[in-house]
Point group: C2
Chain length 115, copies 2
């Protein structure tokens, strides 16, 4: 893995709670990011293929709803562990940068926060 990009990170996050099908992942990512991130179909399915290839997600089951196929993906234990590792990396990096901004006196009080 080593530093997945934001779209992939959100796909893993979406799948962390429960199995979802492709389109469901799209919607979940959009909600999770408060509308900031909108996955393209190409990005989503390519990523799911890659993640499946890497063993981070697996196809959980397939359902036919109104004649449309729904392929559900599930996060593997390995995938959950990787996501956790990503979370820690993100936090470490954020603290690092914040500390350095603070040293230089360039860290402004968070908007709305208690500086």
């Amino acid at each position: 893995m080593a530093a997945v990009q934001e779209p992939t990170f959100f796909i893993l996050t979406a799948l962390a709670e429960e199995p979802l099908h492709g389109y469901g992942v799209m919607q979940s990512v959009s909600e999770l990011s408060a509308g900031r991130l909108k996955l393209r179909a190409g990005t989503l399915y390519a990523a799911l293929d890659r993640l499946t290839d890497d063993g981070l997600v697996v196809v959980d089951r397939e359902e036919a709803v109104d004649g449309r196929l729904r392929r559900y993906y599930r996060l593997t234990d390995d995938g959950a562990a990787q996501l956790q590792a990503e979370v820690e990396r993100l936090r470490t990096n954020a603290s690092l940068a914040a500390a350095r901004l603070r040293k230089a006196g360039r860290l402004r009080p968070a908007p709305g926060g208690a500086g």
Copy 2:
């Protein structure tokens, strides 16, 4: 900006505290990441050019040390603001994923902790 990758994020972080020349950025990034990240020359200078183009860093000054040119780069106010925004994005994303892992009962105690 919108989700810079890790190498670029570390370059900004390295420059947050004080102006550095290219090679100094390489070393700083290596130290900051505890040896995890080692910037390639191609990655570094291409990124510095891009960031300069985007107005996030500027050439601070140039020095000649032992006949070798040192070009110092400095983070602009805009660059510092962007880095701060990145920090907040990282923290938000990390919390999001952690919460979702927790809900699913997949969040394990930190490695080295009570397992």
